[in-house]
Symmetry: C2
Subunit: 149 residues, 2 copies
Amino acid sequence: MPHSPLSVGQVAKRCDVKVSTLHFYEEKGLISSVRSAGNQRRYKPEIMRRVSVIKAAQKLGVSLQDIKLSLASLPNNRTPDKEDWAALSQQWHKLLNHRIKQLENLRDSVSGCIGCGCLSLVHCPIYNKDDYLADNGESGAILLNRDNE
Amino acid sequence: MPHSPLSVGQVAKRCDVKVSTLHFYEEKGLISSVRSAGNQRRYKPEIMRRVSVIKAAQKLGVSLQDIKLSLASLPNNRTPDKEDWAALSQQWHKLLNHRIKQLENLRDSVSGCIGCGCLSLVHCPIYNKDDYLADNGESGAILLNRDNE
DNA sequence: TTAGAACCTCAACTAAACTTGAGGTAAAGA
DNA sequence: TCTTTACCTCAAGTTTAGTTGAGGTTCTAA
């Protein structure tokens, strides 16, 4: 009998997460299981892929809540197949690009601060709204002496 | 009398943080104050710069703990001046570059996964140790069919 | 002088993403 | 069969970075 159902321990081991994490994901509605006669969790092998997708998305900085929504948006909430994964990862790829861009802008602003020697950080883009930085490519020289006044 | 000491409310307003946040930072040893006759907090104007540096570092993803350490490493734990800020931001600039690089690797790995159509994510670089990705520039093609076995 | 704004401390609460522990059941191997 | 390992539930604890609220004091300004 190929593909026999997996126990929570087996899944935990092979996905390199703790059993408690799988319990937690289930509680949060990210994964599901059936129960054996003795009330133990049993998983279809594809659970591995689902857990893996969750982990991958987390590394991209996606919250469990958003991951849940993404997965739930798949046809009958199935474990992502090849096309699904492509779509999901494209979504997340965009997100990643956005975050990278923000960080780069931030980094350049820091350099700008060094460059201009300005310490009036209160009005510096760095602590202004994230989207200020995200929206335009400014690596900007920073502002005026309005602290210490 | 120029530069009169600032109250917690004034600092909060001008740094755009809540009063409770300043209390919190003080409790955590990130900032300090003296007390007025009536036991109210009074700050030197440079507190603004210190708070601003804290906020900037946070945007770079530095934890309060690490910010505290960085600030504490300055000569007599002073509020960063021009040179100090240059040094700190250079430190943090490195950190940022590292994080950007990790994200880029991750992003490229995601693309790799789409490209090869492989769904065996268990062994995919994406959920292997962060440093695996950080250390080499692999955008890797992914592995074998060891899930679903 | 007196109302109301601003301040004080301390404790408890929030959110995310889990982990740990207690007390008890099920399954697997010698 | 017996022992050990794996599993179950439910409650409570952990970390980070604060926020909220209660109960009380101090400042400021009309």
